[in-house]
């Protein structure tokens, strides 16, 4: 009998607790994890019966301003675009129109900077694997291991192009693309320019480099000057042959077309980032009978270059060019790292396809950076 009393008391307490839970309200604010301290997570729990909400945030004068909620009766909100370590004050007002009642809760929170973007974990892992592979192969090359590098006819033809220009007594035209210096294709292009300019200096052939951006101009001048110095012909270096044309995309093209038509270079090199202008440049070069080499990582322009140029460097070949031409063991070693990267990507694609077919979405979500 005593036990029944105890049981009744426990049940009564449980029911009261549940009723209390339904009638009490809470409003909590927490820092959004794994971010740079620019967001707070606001959560609230309100008793049943409330049919309108008003969320307010205090401005710098501590005057509360209404905030816009996506839906009228949500139970949470993420306030972003905040400054780290600042204290933000919020007020939640809930209305019960039927009872003409309202409740009012205040809370405050402080966004904190974290030390890692958790949603980038997969990128970090891939980067570490790829980076380690490249460093490993570079070290192996430094220890004397010889790596095979396949023939790239576009780069082998460089000698032929310079030879043709020398024979004809005509200059070589080098176009480093239409991108700024912050594009890695432009950097890759300048690396090739260095090698080309050195050979041109050795053959005593003039090289013309029109630039679209002033930063590319100063880098190109430095590269060519150094190349002439290395070739032992600093006196042959002509700064006025490496010049700025215009920032304007088709103004730049008009300028280059003018040079092609007037000076009729014997060899044209279009290496770097190209867009809608690629065919205009290549076709004008074709009409003068120049030997033409092009290369870009912008895949959509490759068909145009393939049609009008003698040799085309496709995508990654542009980035491999510097290693290929210099035959520097360390650089060639790093290309082996790229190949490892390709193998890794193929593996990830195959595993991803199998897991997706099997209905396992976690792998794709992880690689896409979910979980922030």
């Amino acid at each position: 009998m005593k036990h029944i009393y105890y049981l009744l008391i426990v049940l009564l307490l449980l029911q009261s607790a549940m009723l209390w839970a339904n009638t009490t309200s809470s409003f909590t604010i927490s820092d959004k994890p794994w971010d740079k301290g620019e967001a707070l997570i606001l959560n609230w729990n309100l008793p049943d019966g409330y049919d309108r909400l008003n969320l307010q945030k205090a401005d710098s004068l501590m005057v509360y301003q209404d905030m816009e909620l996506d839906e009228p009766l949500v139970s949470g909100f993420v306030d972003d675009n905040l400054d780290p370590d600042e204290t933000y004050h919020y007020r939640l007002i809930a209305y019960n129109d039927a009872l003409a009642d309202s409740i009012f809760i205040e809370a405050q929170g402080q966004p904190k900077e974290n030390w890692f973007y958790m949603h980038k974990l997969s990128f970090l892992l891939l980067f570490l694997i790829l980076g380690s592979a490249i460093v490993f192969y570079v070290m192996a090359a430094r220890r004397g291991k010889d790596f095979y590098i396949r023939r790239i006819s576009g780069l082998d033809s460089m000698e032929e192009a310079i030879g043709r220009a020398t024979e004809k007594g005509k200059p070589i035209l080098f176009v480093p693309g239409i991108s700024e210096l912050d594009d890695i294709q432009t950097i890759a292009s300048l690396s090739i320019l260095g090698q080309l300019a050195q050979r041109a200096a050795e053959y005593n052939t003039e090289i013309i480099v029109p630039c679209r951006f002033a930063m590319v101009l100063s880098a190109a001048r430095e590269v060519v000057k150094e190349a002439y110095l290395k070739a032992g012909r600093p006196d042959a270096y002509r700064e006025d042959r490496i010049f700025y044309l215009t920032d304007d995309q088709f103004g730049y093209v008009a300028g280059i077309d003018g040079i092609i038509v007037r000076e009729e270079p014997a060899a044209n090199f279009f290496l770097g980032s190209f867009y809608a202008e690629s065919l205009i440049l290549a076709e004008t070069g074709l009409s003068t009978g120049a030997i033409q080499t092009a290369g870009t990582a912008n895949a959509h322009q490759l068909p145009f270059f393939v049609v009008s140029c003698d040799y085309t460097l496709i995508g990654e070949e542009l980035f491999a060019a510097s290693a290929y031409l210099s035959r520097d063991a360390q650089q060639v070693g790093s290309l082996k790292g790229h190949d490892f990267g390709k193998l890794l990507v193929i593996l990830l694609i195959v595993v991803g396809i199998i897991l997706e077919i099997a209905g396992q979405g976690w792998f794709k979500s992880f690689l896409m950076g979910a979980g922030s």
Binding site: D80, N81, I178, S179, E180, D182, D183, D247, D248, Q249, F250, S273, Y275, A276, E277, S278, L279, L286, S287, T288, G289, A290, I291, Q292, N298, A299, H300, Q301, F304, S308, C309, D310, M368
Partner: protein, 285 residues
């Protein structure tokens, strides 16, 4: 690679035929219709489904040379966003972008339905900033710090519609009309990939295939307008007979002429091959 004299002549004949193929339909329009592609519709849907009062940003990342293809897209998107009660911010990663924006807004306001749209209330032109992707990264922290003044020198605070705008995250959509770098790719990398803002855009027809991989499950690009055809499709979707629709006839005829030229090229090549074979056969005999 070089072309011989006969090829030079052939090239010039080809140029003349193309000139006529483009010019004649412009003078005597045919009025062929067009089907809306799913990718162009996605771009339309993004703006169409955005609620009134929200902000869209159009980045004018092109210059005068590509206005034929890109300007009709800009005008159509502006008219569409205004018809939905949205506000438009114009920026530019290319020096001539502000002029392109100015011309597009003026063109859109020529439509009587939008003649009352007011600068600073319904749209602003923030102008050009040097730096490309770096500018976009900075806009992710504060658009106001990057553009303290608009293209005409007015202060940010004097433009009432910018009150609710702080960073890229405050935008409902971004559209980059782009003919090269910096442009659409940079907007995808920063606005979508970093800040999760829906990005759409338009490019010239020759660059469009390169952006198709970004129209994927992750919606890195929320649809794409590629060239004049897509611009005409957008005009069709907003029920407008604009410049792109008018010029599509010329493009269609030019395409057909190119097909005929390809056929002709094959016949010529085949005849040359046969003549060469006959010659070799004759010599052998």
């Amino acid at each position: 690679m070089s072309v011989n004299t006969s090829s030079h002549t052939e090239r010039r004949i080809v140029f003349l035929i193309i000139f006529l193929a483009v010019m004649v339909p412009l003078i005597f329009p045919i009025g062929w219709g067009s089907e809306v592609s799913p990718i162009a519709r996605m771009s339309y849907d993004l703006i169409d489904e955005t609620p009134a009062g929200k902000y869209g940003l159009i980045s004018f990342d092109y210059e005068a040379s590509t206005i034929t293809e890109l300007q009709p897209m800009a005008v159509a998107q502006i008219e569409h966003a205004w018809s939905k009660g949205q506000k438009i911010i114009a920026t530019a990663l290319w020096p001539q972008g502000p002029q392109m924006a100015e011309a597009s807004f003026a063109e859109a306001k020529r439509n009587p339905a939008y003649a009352d749209k007011e600068y600073g209330v319904d749209y602003v032109n923030l102008g050009y900033k040097v730096g490309g992707i770096v500018t976009l990264q900075a806009m992710g922290s504060s658009i106001r710090d990057v553009y303290p003044k608009d293209s005409s020198g007015k202060n940010w605070d004097d433009l009432p519609m910018l009150k609710g705008i702080r960073t890229l995250k405050d935008l409902a959509w971004v559209s980059s009309l782009s003919s090269g770098v910096p442009g659409l790719k940079e907007w995808v990398m920063i606005a979508h990939d970093v800040h999760n803002v829906p990005v759409t855009g338009g490019t010239t027809a020759v660059s469009a295939p390169g952006f198709l991989p970004y129209v994927n499950d992750q919606k890195q690009l929320h649809g794409l307008l590629g060239g004049l055809k897509a611009a005409s499709e957008y005009e069709m979707l907003i029920d407008k007979k604009g410049p792109a629709t008018t010029k599509m006839d010329a493009q269609s005829v030019a395409h057909i002429v190119i097909l005929l030229l390809i056929t002709l090229g094959n016949i010529t090549a085949f005849r040359r091959k046969r003549a060469k074979a006959n010659l070799t056969g004759g010599q052998n005999a």
